[in-house]
Symmetry: D2
Subunit: 359 residues, 4 copies
Amino acid sequence: MTYSVAVSGASGYAGGEILRILAAHPDIEIRTVTAHSNAGQPLIQHQPHLRSLAHLTLQDTTPEILAGHDIVFLALPHGQSGQYTDALGGTPLVIDAGADHRLESVADWDAFYGGDFHEPWVYGVPELPVAGATQRERLAGASRIAAPGCNASTVSLSLAPGVAAGVIDPSDIVTVLAVGPSGAGKSLKPNLLASEILGSANPYAVGGTHRHIPEIRQALAAARAGARTDGAESAPDEGIRISFTPVLVPMARGILATSTAPIAPGVSDAEIRAAWQDAYGDETFVQLLPAGQFPRTADVLGANTALIGLAIDRAANRVVVVTAVDNLVKGTAGAAVQSMNIALGLPEGTALTVNGVAP
Amino acid sequence: MTYSVAVSGASGYAGGEILRILAAHPDIEIRTVTAHSNAGQPLIQHQPHLRSLAHLTLQDTTPEILAGHDIVFLALPHGQSGQYTDALGGTPLVIDAGADHRLESVADWDAFYGGDFHEPWVYGVPELPVAGATQRERLAGASRIAAPGCNASTVSLSLAPGVAAGVIDPSDIVTVLAVGPSGAGKSLKPNLLASEILGSANPYAVGGTHRHIPEIRQALAAARAGARTDGAESAPDEGIRISFTPVLVPMARGILATSTAPIAPGVSDAEIRAAWQDAYGDETFVQLLPAGQFPRTADVLGANTALIGLAIDRAANRVVVVTAVDNLVKGTAGAAVQSMNIALGLPEGTALTVNGVAP
Amino acid sequence: MTYSVAVSGASGYAGGEILRILAAHPDIEIRTVTAHSNAGQPLIQHQPHLRSLAHLTLQDTTPEILAGHDIVFLALPHGQSGQYTDALGGTPLVIDAGADHRLESVADWDAFYGGDFHEPWVYGVPELPVAGATQRERLAGASRIAAPGCNASTVSLSLAPGVAAGVIDPSDIVTVLAVGPSGAGKSLKPNLLASEILGSANPYAVGGTHRHIPEIRQALAAARAGARTDGAESAPDEGIRISFTPVLVPMARGILATSTAPIAPGVSDAEIRAAWQDAYGDETFVQLLPAGQFPRTADVLGANTALIGLAIDRAANRVVVVTAVDNLVKGTAGAAVQSMNIALGLPEGTALTVNGVAP
Amino acid sequence: MTYSVAVSGASGYAGGEILRILAAHPDIEIRTVTAHSNAGQPLIQHQPHLRSLAHLTLQDTTPEILAGHDIVFLALPHGQSGQYTDALGGTPLVIDAGADHRLESVADWDAFYGGDFHEPWVYGVPELPVAGATQRERLAGASRIAAPGCNASTVSLSLAPGVAAGVIDPSDIVTVLAVGPSGAGKSLKPNLLASEILGSANPYAVGGTHRHIPEIRQALAAARAGARTDGAESAPDEGIRISFTPVLVPMARGILATSTAPIAPGVSDAEIRAAWQDAYGDETFVQLLPAGQFPRTADVLGANTALIGLAIDRAANRVVVVTAVDNLVKGTAGAAVQSMNIALGLPEGTALTVNGVAP
């Protein structure tokens, strides 16, 4: 069967990427695209790279227009999805690419976002080790899915195997990310102007203020819950601490996350490496590189692939995990479509590519 | 008086930057420029931006040609300076921009470089807190100076005040750097091709193998020696550990170093901030930004300035120091000229600019 | 049926892009990949973005190893294909991504390349207007195909409709191109280092020396032959003159060609626009944008699409055609695969995408 | 003596660059900086690279605040300078970096800008050949100066020697420029976002609509007037036609202008080259490169230098002139300060550098 789809926020970067991927999906008909301020304009005016969708016109983002499709993707700023989700009660599958349905903790929501709290949906990172299994099992048949934050899923995928296996200590994680500005969306902010980004590395949200921090803690807590084999679905994240610093660098797309954590006492190099190998050895879209090799973001451009390089630095007593993703694909839109495929029972990789566009 | 100068490695990036700075120095006459394989060619062919030096021709890099100047700058790959330094016994001031005279520990040299060990020279990072004073005092009147590694001086300047004051714990430092490829020199390596760097973030020397690690440990040990007030000139670096990961990003110049270290027990936020403020409050070329502000590499492009932003993340129990430098200026050539000025008793900032070229 | 394929030059940029596209082709089995100096190494070591081809090992590029496949792609420097083409007499389809089989004129070959001349093969730019039809007709059933030069096909597609329709004067064409360095291949040349390209615009081959000039003249002559309705297959290119200046800019991929030519006397704006509309109105991969719109290279990244914007500047008496292509796809590898599809009678767009990866 | 200076538009890119240059000027005291919406904020908040000016606070841009200085720089959007210039009647020297006082033709102003026409001031491109001399003579002692448009001065300097000498035909000029986005200012426009510019070449103002076109025609007419030796100060620009296409490329600064014009009948290569050599042979900041060499924008980054490469393409019957400038320095702020130096009788190169910051 063919599923009808509506995509809101279709003039933005996340919405555009969802459309780019769905345009190649044999089971999907993109019926409706919506955008707030640009309603009435041709989609192609805002997404001139989506040549195959030149026939679509942006409509207003209203519950009425979004309703009546098999699947609705919400690619809206945080705090805006909630008003639609109530009205979409009859929609079989809703996938929120925003933050509104990611967090389980009201306290975290209040501290990092604020405004109305919305119930958590199934988290859309299929390969994430969680409670002795993976997030994939929870996504099967799901009707409400929260696609991940791009930085959050990158870091969670980087470290969850080690946390789940107990080979690293999650109480003193340090992550620094080189990120492209498309992750910040198409907002007209002075610090996102090309003249400010070109030739420069620009840190932001330094010192523990980035909104993806609680999302990472939550994911790692879920991974640790598996390690504890206590079956808790959403484990408390006590003792999980992360220093998290993103740095904007001059590339449109991509995240290169360098994450380190102390080596747990007494574990061998082989045990450490086995944690990641066991977690991802059978995965298509999350791949552990051979020892001594590390990924580049160009290698996953346009692909739904997370590439992970792992080093064990005994002198510093830290495991170093370097992970490359395309923030708009594996970080957001690809994760959303992969989760959709799983929820619908379609082949998981439909419309998703494993090969990057390089150089 | 006017000092005559010879610069070896003049066709490379570090040599070119030394020349760019010296070309504006009122007390310097650039008399000789040398390069191995390009001898006989006009300098301007290899440094087309140095318009005011179009009259110079590259000569061979031999002890004979370098001798007979008041000052010689060596901008050569590591392992090559040693053969010249012996023959330059009669030269009043020799400054090595390479690594050969930086390390005090033979064991470190053997582990990270290999080949003949050369005696350590006075380290050319004037503002570095060391043994209760600064490195500036040691540079006054020096005749042999080792200019720093660009990554090393950036990280050492970032953390030395905290180590010297005892407000951070140097046993678990984590540093990740966004660096431009000019730091790697003009070598013809496939991973330095534009097609490989553009649009991509590329980690290298992951897991504790980068050659600047012992240089940082040595500088922080010197800073700690000051804290210990034991007067030791080159303190052992036991207990100083650093996880160090550089990431090549698509900007020609610049280093943005994000360094974190655990907060020492019991210190207040004010005490932490005071450590850096006290160290750098009177400095021209190393500036601590106000709380909540963080630097961008573009702001120091072409300048001899290190800009430091400081955050205290109590949730992660870490101090986060973000430092921006131009790797070729404050990281290398500017440090060399600043050290030269000090050694000669000239005004320290002669020919050096504090303002960056932005955007 | 499934066609077996060998790709030579598989460690380079053009070879890698052919592989990236073929990896998604349902009718192709990539059986053999070869490279001169890297034989024996895993393909993935040189093309780390081609995750689905991680099982392949580079073999030596010899006639014996290339023989025995249904299709052979040659992605070699010019002057090297000839030695293989003789030995591949039994191969049903050979596609040369190099220059050896593009030019019809021995004089042009001698003037711009030199060395042995090789016979011209069918030129692999399907949409090119030629002799009252398109190049597509000549490609149907072809067994030997010369894929185009990336700059050449971009400019030829830009101007051929106007030449064929007689609405522009081909005797005074001026083209300036912004091009990414991947078009120059993975060669270790100083001017291709990232430090040289980042933040800079660098002209090369200025003043009429670029090797793609005779290829453009040849294609436009073929287009004009159609206008003359004289049925000549390879028309002489007298009176076709082009000032051609490429400029390397800091993007890995992409060509933005700005081509201008005098307006032919007496033609109306509508007639001018109709020339391009008639030529490309039914094409999938060559699209004329609406009046007032112009393409960006990002919009065709990874796509087999050429986007063309057309302006008529009566004050300057020139038609201005701005065309964006991905040099590695529509400019080279995509053109090769599209031509292959036509030659084999497969659907022309198999494995090729019309949507770009943006932003 | 020390001149007191006020700079309006000080939070923008042009204003910031004027300040960067003046900060190194021994005869200038920067007393006042103004900006519309950002009045009351520290300058350093908007220009974090201007460390030596950290003590300055932005004031409102009013005639009262600007009055009372020896020199006022206006770095405002076009159409805004006029309201201040009347009130600055008592100011000895006013330099407008905007467009309001550049054009001599009301018709051109109406066609390309619109709104109130303002009287033309002395054009601030000292080296421009004009009426048998250079623009420098007109600037000596001037009290009102119009700094040039960055693209305009680049193209005018490129071609004026050939027009003045009669060796090229100005009736069919074609210019394509690779330009960095800083030339467009700090405006919050979607097409100037980093995600749109990174990895992409983006044409704009295609087809003869760019506002710098009449400025170029005016400058070339002045150059031709010199050739005519008829002494006319502002020659009509009949017969001067230019196809002009700028392309935004991913570098913060820089203009690389490729300009071509037909070779005048009967002139020799030596005569052509002599035209440029004679015009610029004694200049410091405009340099003709040796035959066969062409400039890169990186070579003039931060410098007040225009580098010109000249090719003679007999096959295309065109002279090709490739010129590199830093749009913010030689294109705008450097030209303004150089003109100021001339007007005040100071050494022309004070505070201006000829060497670029490369790589």
